[in-house]
Amino acid sequence: MSKEYITFPEKIEFSTEIPIRKIDLSMDLHVSFASILDLVFEAHLQFFEFLGYSVTNIHGKSIIFANLNIDYLGELFFKDLVKIDVALANMHEKYFDLYFRVQKNQNIPVAIVKIRVLFFDYSVRKVVAIPIEFKNKFPFACFQPNLETTKSLDYPTKTKTKWKQMQIRQSVQALVKEIYEYTENLPPHEEKNLFLKLRKLAVFILTQLTQSYSNKIYVERMKSLLRLEASLLELEELLELSESLGYLHTKIDFHNLKETKQLLGEFRNSCLSVKKVILSDT
């Protein structure tokens, strides 16, 4: 039999029973893949009626569907009694997920459906935030990140070291300070050149580090990381240049630069392994 990919939430909000009619059958074989959705839609309408809403008026707002996943697990025939359980999860600011579990005759699985629902204001034709009154009805559906996606799409999730405690952050901050102090001693004719370049680079390194830690999009984090690495190399090059030009009168160690380079490897690994970041601690 087929494998279930969609995880149905634990808490069932509503259940209904729908007898299968003869005309639900496609070519007298079974209920077609498309007609299963008619049954789901039926349960959907009943669910909102049960909540005391109409689907076009939920605290003055309407809902639209953004996407839909179905796992087909069994067939439906004439006179089958279908039971549909409805559940809710992943309540976010502008969307939530509706789950439908379709079963027949003593819990024989038929289908599991997940629909992403957006709140919509038809008067301005725009997606809007979920009304707080609606959210409050489903405290259980909020904060359940592990039900986010179907299993097949799941990335390994782990929490990262807290941003403020990151060693690399501290060393980069120290590096910026160090560069600022150093550039103070540059000759005035370098004010528009090396002075500015070095300071800009130092600040850029810090912003890229922040980006590569906190951006929610994996690819963006990777891009920031690459920019960070390139900028570090550039900084090193410019410091070497200023040394050869004789601006480096006192020997400055720049140990923060070395430390940053050492910590970068570890930081890169943590960026790569964590595809989905939980940002609650930043």
Partner: protein
């Protein structure tokens, strides 16, 4: 225009339960400004047909094979007596009447749970041979069952 009222048959051959769906109903703002939502007139025909299918199924027939023959519909009459809502249980009562040589009528009453008649339907049917493209007499087996 004259309308021949569908009389309540003496004998009910089959009773079944149906459940209306939201897809059977329609909601609209009517001219007086209120929202009206009920099972539409055309979908009542759908429910009558569903009761018909359940009746055939109960006697191990289907529209494709009814006592070795087939049927065609020559007329469908419906009268409406009460409003039906979505997600409502209804009781369908079916009787075979007016058995002729080739044709018969199926009377379908759709009742609410409290017994109120919501709709009455009459389907006039004729036995038909699709191969010969001709009507044919009622099969004996069928006649014995319902006469």
């Amino acid at each position: 225009m004259s309308y021949l009222e569908i009389a309540k048959p003496n004998k009910i051959h089959f009773t079944t339960e149906l459940k209306t769906r939201y897809s059977d109903s329609r909601s609209a703002f009517v001219s007086s400004g209120i929202v009206v939502s009920h099972v539409t007139y055309e979908n009542i025909a759908l429910l009558v047909n569903e009761a018909f299918d359940l009746f055939l199924e109960y006697f191990s027939y289907s529209k494709a094979n009814i006592a070795g023959s087939n049927i065609i519909v020559s007329a469908l009459e419906l009268s409406y007596h009460a409003e039906l809502q979505a997600n409502q249980k209804i009781i369908a009562e079916i009787s075979v009447t007016d058995m002729g040589t080739k044709s018969f009528s199926l009377i379908v009453f759709l009742n609410k749970e409290d017994g109120t008649i919501a709709a009455k339907g009459r389907i006039s049917l004729i036995f038909y041979n699709y191969k010969l493209k001709k009507t044919e007499p009622i099969p004996e087996e069928f006649r014995r069952k319902f006469e």
